[in-house]
């Protein structure tokens, strides 16, 4: 049997045609979507997979003896197998479906950490984190008396490694760190960081929401204990996500929520919990969403994650160079290793004003604090304009962005 031909790097740009939503005009101009870091668009393959499932296969999973229930279960569990393969987890038991990165992190905070920690224990994060990797730990600290430690960042927007390593002391119960910063695009050297944490016996959770869409992920090579990510950032449906957890850790954790599907036997005297990963999937899951997420994995693998990373890297460098050339621009976040995102400010224009004027030219960017207020505080600003790239963007999009920014400059002159 002949293998499907992988696309060449130069043809990754052709992916644009796979995304129906991009074929529209906004304010009379063809849409330029540069907000994939907030939510990525879905290829027709994902949209169709969800629709087909809804039209032909839907029923509840794991329960029925009838044909549709079998089909639904197969589709749902098939998606789990795809996700396992996608991040190279050792077992499908390590793939817990959640509603997204936020729930994945909360699950670890409440189910792994909460029963085991108390006053005197420390939780280590960095100054780069998204609120989803800050607030669950703050809640945990309030509940248990543990203390939150925050590793500093430098003015390029990179975690200060020496400081982080120095903060990894015996009393640190867990390190929670983002793979890629959503606000600045900084790729943190998590493999090295995890290696040091392992030496010191500190478990590591990686917030991979912005890592998964742009980089090939191998959780076994990384040797992390938890890797959390969202479906909608990787071209899948919203309300889907994954918590990868090392099996030995997941096994030892109590359930996060109680309900149907997460039990083997219920009586009023004693309830026996289901095996992994179902112990953590109480209630009817987002079946159609997970089917779509599985289709997104198929799609990404048909293009090839390494090709996507290479293509985006080139496009990112082009975008940064083009933005840099604009008089009055201030780039926020200039890490050596970055993925697909550039935050910036123009003259003294409020980022919200800039976003409004760009929208009128059909260019969609994100403005504001990007759910990373501490990052903004580090730079002494209230927000930025942020352009983020995905595999469907191309040089034309970047050119339209710079033209739109120049026009905004005129409007506010």
């Amino acid at each position: 049997m002949s293998q499907p031909q992988p696309r060449t790097a130069s043809s990754v740009a052709d992916c644009r045609a796979d995304f129906p939503i991009l074929e529209q005009c906004i304010s009379g101009a063809p849409l330029v979507y540069l907000d994939s870091a907030a939510s990525a668009q879905q290829p027709a393959a994902v949209i169709d997979a969800v629709a087909r499932y809804q039209r032909e296969d839907h029923a509840n999973v794991h329960r029925g003896v009838h044909t549709l229930s079998h089909r639904a279960t197969e589709a749902y569990e098939g998606a789990r197998d795809k996700l396992r393969d996608f991040i190279n987890a050792a077992s499908r038991r390590e793939i817990v479906f959640t509603s997204g990165t936020t729930e994945s992190i909360n699950l670890v905070a409440q189910s792994y950490c909460r029963p085991r920690i108390g006053a005197g224990d420390k939780i280590l994060i960095t100054h780069l984190e998204h609120h989803a990797n800050i607030v669950p730990w703050q809640i945990l600290c309030e509940q248990t008396g543990a203390e939150l430690l925050v590793a500093p960042i430098d003015d390029a927007g990179q975690v200060e490694l020496d400081a982080l390593l120095a903060m990894m002391t015996d009393d640190v119960f867990i390190l929670a760190i983002s793979h890629v910063s959503n606000a600045l695009g900084t790729i943190s050297p998590i493999a090295d960081i995890i290696a040091t944490a392992k030496e010191r016996g500190i478990p590591v959770l990686v917030d991979g929401a912005q890592g998964v869409p742009h980089l090939a992920i191998d959780v076994r090579a990384l040797d992390c204990d938890f890797y959390a990510f969202s479906g909608h950032k990787m071209f899948g449906p919203t309300g889907t996500g994954v918590l990868y957890g090392r099996e030995s850790l997941l096994d030892a954790m109590p359930p996060y929520q109680g309900g149907g599907d997460m039990i083997l036997e219920v009586s009023f005297e004693a309830t026996v919990y289901n095996e992994l990963p179902y112990k953590f999937e109480a209630g009817t899951p987002n079946i159609s969403g997970c089917v779509g997420l599985g289709a997104a994995v198929d799609y990404l693998q048909s293009v090839g994650m390494q090709r996507i990373a290479d293509y985006e890297h080139e496009l990112h460098d082009y975008m940064v160079a083009e933005l840099k050339a604009i008089d009055g621009i201030r780039l926020i976040g200039q890490a050596t290793e970055k993925a697909s995102v550039q935050s910036f400010l123009l003259d003294d224009i409020h980022s919200h004003d800039l976003g409004t004027i760009l929208d009128h030219q059909g260019v969609a960017i994100r403005t504001g604090h990007h759910c990373a207020m501490p990052v903004m505080q580090h730079f002494g600003i209230s927000g930025t304009a942020r352009a983020s790239l995905a595999l469907y963007n191309n040089e034309d999009d970047v050119n339209r962005l710079t033209e739109a920014v120049l026009k905004a400059k005129q409007v506010f002159a």
Partner: protein
Amino acid sequence: MTNEVEAAQQELIDDFSLFDDWMDRYQYLIDLGRRLPEFPESLRTEENRIRGCQSQVWFVAEEKEGRLEFRAISDAAIVSGLIAVLLRLYSGRYPQDIIDTPPDFVKALQLESHLSPTRSNGLSSMLTAIRGFAAEALQAA
């Protein structure tokens, strides 16, 4: 009979009808914002801040001889322009006139996209605040 708010609204709509290009409309809005009267630092308090805006907005109301006077400012230019429009329509008016006049200018000036609370740029919150002040003044009277 046309009330003062209605008259001011019609005038505003006529002014903006001169522009057929969105850029000109925005430039005019931004110019209006730049000409807003000085807003004292002492009034930029948490209490006077309108929440739920991506940009910062401070808003105060005062009653003088039966009329409501508003002062406001934002750190964003377009929002400041929206404030200028709101002050032109509603500041120095009778509360009853404010309540009685539907904000037709939003549609006429093609500012609908600014009205959705999810755009969180404050037009919606500011309109709610103005009408709230007017309702309060009427109740107190």
